[in-house]
């Protein structure tokens, strides 16, 4: 491999030049110092500066060259690139050693380089968000060029099965036209999310009330991490649990009442998802209830309210923004949950209000569209990105509203640990 050899040569050369620069820089600084002149920095710091001056520009040139070759497709022979970047390294070393003077602030120069390194690390998280946004929006736009946006948002039939015919140039066959109406998927998603919330919000909130207001300190320090184990269990495990253990139980219970339930019913994934989400609500609500100022409780008790009335009429209303914020985060979590529904919910888009029937969700269809043997260009594959875009928009707005509410709570009671 020519390229690999060049890479090894480049790294080896850089290491050697860096080492030489370090030794030369250090000995020069030591000499200057020994001659009795006062210097701004330690010899080691000058040495490190020469190393940075050697390696930094050379790595930059190498990286830019590699970027141009890989992505823009520029034809640069790797041997040239190797020679140029090593030459840059040698020039950098020479400049770095020239800079070893008593009046040069080597320490501050290193400091500036480190600062830029840290800034660029911090930028990666921004790039990640934009990366997600652009990758989804770009592919989703290609999807919306093929299919009408309004049909996607308002259509009630999701039938991508025939989309490969369009790719084969037979899109005109009226009977085989693929339909991408996402309403059944959203209906299924909201049904399962609603079931999860019906389980998680009451249990999570009551558990938080108990931990914050009634439980002795010992129980609280034990109960909180124990509950958080529920959130640490991998979702694929919950999916298996929902499909193998909970779904048959639901079918049996429904059968006992004379109802007909599918094995892929929406209740099983909903309930299991609810169990998973309990700690999200209980932990945050517990923190919020704890940070309601004690003066409010004392005031209420002084007026003759019982403990229960104080909690119901004073503490919970005061903590409400935080509790709503926790619930919104939980909803956002439930909407984007994938493995539980992939393993336990159905595959069939089904627009129904009966939670005992099988129904599918947005995330299930995303996984289904991207794991088949379809080409990347087909409408079904691209539809995954359109669904992802909607999911991104919904969860993003829920998160932002949740953050704003917790901020308001924090400003009102001057709490800093939330």
């Amino acid at each position: 491999m020519q390229t690999n050899q060049h890479l090894i040569l480049f790294l080896g050369g850089l290491l050697l030049l860096g080492l030489i620069a370090f030794i030369l820089g250090r000995s020069k600084a030591a000499r200057v110092r020994a001659s009795g002149q006062a210097m701004y920095a330690q010899p080691d710091q000058y040495a490190w500066f020469t190393v940075v001056a050697t390696a930094g520009p050379a790595l930059l040139v190498g990286a830019v060259g590699a970027f141009l070759m890989l992505l823009v497709g520029a034809e640069i022979p790797t041997a040239y690139l190797l020679a140029v970047s090593l030459a840059v390294a040698a020039i950098g070393a020479a400049v770095g050693i020239r800079c070893v003077r008593p009046d040069f602030h080597a320490r501050e120069a290193i400091e500036r380089v480190i600062r830029w390194l840290l800034v660029s690390a911090a930028l990666i998280s921004i790039f990640t968000t934009f990366g997600i946004l652009f990758s989804i929006v770009f592919e989703a736009l290609r999807f919306f060029q093929m299919h009408n946006f309004w049909e996607f948002i308002t259509g009630t039939v999701w039938n991508p099965g025939a989309s490969f015919l369009a790719a084969a140039g037979r899109a005109d066959d009226a009977s085989s036209a693929a339909q991408f109406g996402s309403v059944p998927l959203f209906a299924g998603t909201f049904m399962i999310t609603a079931i999860a919330m019906l389980v998680a919000i009451p249990i999570g909130l009551l558990a938080a009330i108990y931990m914050a207001e009634f439980a002795p300190q010992r129980v609280r320090t034990l109960a909180k991490p124990t509950l958080e184990v529920l959130a640490g269990i991998p979702t694929v495990v919950y999916g298996f649990f929902a499909a193998i253990t909970v779904a048959p139980i639901i079918v049996n219970i429904a059968g006992f009442f004379g109802l007909d339930a599918s094995f892929n019913n929406a209740v099983a994934p909903g309930v299991v998802m609810g169990i998973m989400i309990i700690p999200f609500i209980s932990s945050l609500s517990d923190d919020v209830i704890n940070s309601v100022p004690d003066s409010m409780r004392q005031g209420s008790l002084a007026l003759g309210m019982t403990k229960g009335e104080t909690i119901r009429d004073v503490v919970i209303p005061a903590a409400l923004p935080g509790i709503i914020s926790a619930s919104l985060l939980a909803v956002s979590r439930a909407l984007g949950e994938t493995m539980i529904v992939v393993m336990a919910a159905g595959m069939r888009p089904n627009l129904t209000a009966n939670p005992l029937e099988d129904m599918t969700t947005v995330t299930v269809r995303i996984v289904a569209a991207l794991t088949g043997d379809l080409e990347f260009e087909s409408a079904e594959t691209l539809s995954a990105f359109a669904l992802g875009l909607v999911l991104f928009a919904v969860t993003l707005s829920l998160n932002l509203v949740s953050v704003l509410m917790i901020r308001r709570f924090r400003a009102k009671y001057r709490v800093n640990n939330l």
């Binding site: 640490g232 979702t235 694929v236 495990v237 493995m339």
Partner: protein, 388 residues
């Protein structure tokens, strides 16, 4: 006086009863959540523990001419049907490699089929009546028994339940986690150091902060879409490889590490920084020599928790193709691989009854690793936690 004392005191009793009721209801809610946890673990243990045992059968092998073409011919036909096909298939190759074995015979313990295994464990199976009689006779004769299932830990995936193991998935997990840590740990710590120690409080810094909090709440499957569109389609990273999986998970783990590191840095008291500045350290020297070493236990704890989270993640890995069928262990960063949760997902989709047990067994292994990691994090925190 509109109400007498009697009325008020009788109301008071009712009000206190109500208050007590709230206590009991909220306590039972907590109990219910705990009960779920207990039921869940009990269910997983009862389903998964049998996977660590496997039926082995003693067979007499006669290496005759036919066995060089069809391994089955070396065994008694009655017994041959009970022996795993993965063993049968090995016989012809073995004979070709060692021709001197021809004409000899030996007695060996080998893997039985998953149907026999399930019959021994009392589950549903597809053994016919006369086969069940043969099995019962063999058990009587001590030639068929359940033993510790080493295959489960020493082999990769297989389409035959009895010889399916988690080794290739475990190796894949290790490789993927190495990539994840190598990317997310330095970048996460550097970001946190910048935000806590260097950044001025301006719009740009606030933007980064909001963005990090938001990244922590984005559904994991969207990170998979990013991996597919950018890493695989745009940069051409090999699909299904630990490299692309690790990169995708690294982006997901980043916010966890950043938030944990910031908390750890914030808990180092300012007096330490002031003292270091006072003796003439530059900002970077303060951070490198004083703040970071003191914050290290907190950073390690956060990273371990982030790693545990990434280890259990499946959805983004499915999108970048890490649910491949990997029968052989490969220690390469760029070849197709699978990870433990993805292996669990694949097995959960197999229709055979014996795979349910394998799935639950895999889950038990994954859960033990996660419990171990989280316990390490807790112990680390307990041991090095410092109150200033």
């Amino acid at each position: 006086m509109s109400q007498s004392f009697d009325v008020i005191s009788s109301q008071l009793k009712k009000r206190h009863r109500k208050s007590a009721r709230l206590k009991w209801i909220s306590m039972s809610a907590l109990g219910l959540a705990g009960l779920f946890l207990v039921l869940f673990f009990a269910d997983m243990l009862s389903k998964g523990l049998p996977a660590f045992q496997q039926a082995y059968i003693q067979v007499e092998l006669e290496y005759n001419e036919d066995a060089t073409r069809m391994g089955r011919a070396a065994m008694d036909p009655e017994v041959a049907r009970l022996v795993s096909r993965t063993f049968e298939r090995l016989i012809p190759g073995q004979l070709r490699a060692n021709p001197e074995l021809l004409g000899t015979s030996e007695t060996r313990w080998v893997l039985a089929t998953s149907e026999v295994d399930q019959y021994l464990k009392g589950h549903d199976n597809k053994l016919r009546g006369n086969q069940q009689e043969v099995v019962d006779e063999l058990i009587e004769a001590g030639r068929l028994e359940l033993r510790f299932n080493t295959t489960f830990f020493t082999r990769g995936d297989s389409k035959m339940a009895e010889s399916a193991g988690i080794l290739s998935a475990a190796v894949g997990t290790v490789l993927t986690m190495l990539v994840t840590l190598a990317i997310s740990f330095p970048i996460g710590v550097m970001t946190a150091v910048y935000l806590e120690e260097f950044a001025p409080d301006n719009r740009f810094t606030q933007l980064i902060e909001i963005n990090i909090n938001n990244l922590a709440a984005i559904p994991s499957i969207l990170f998979g879409l990013l991996g597919l569109a950018i890493f695989i389609s745009f940069f051409g990273v090999p699909r299904s490889s630990p490299l692309v999986g690790g990169m995708t998970l690294a982006l997901m783990t980043l916010p966890v590490i950043i938030i944990a590191t910031r908390t750890a840095l914030r808990s180092v008291p300012d007096s330490i920084r002031h003292a270091a500045f006072g003796v003439g350290c530059s900002r970077w020297q303060v951070v490198r020599d004083h703040v970071l070493p003191l914050a290290m236990p907190g950073i390690m704890t956060g990273s371990i928790i982030g790693l545990a989270q990434a280890m259990g993640e499946t959805a983004p890995l499915i999108i970048v193709g890490m649910v491949a069928f990997i029968p052989d262990v490969s220690a390469s960063f760029t070849q197709a691989a699978t990870v433990l949760p993805a292996q669990i997902f694949t097995w959960a989709g197999e229709p055979e009854r014996a795979f349910v047990e394998k799935t639950a067994g895999g889950i038990l292994v994954l859960l033990s690793i996660l419990i171990f990691l989280n316990a390490t994090a807790v112990i680390l925190r307990k041991k090095f936690e410092r109150r200033w």
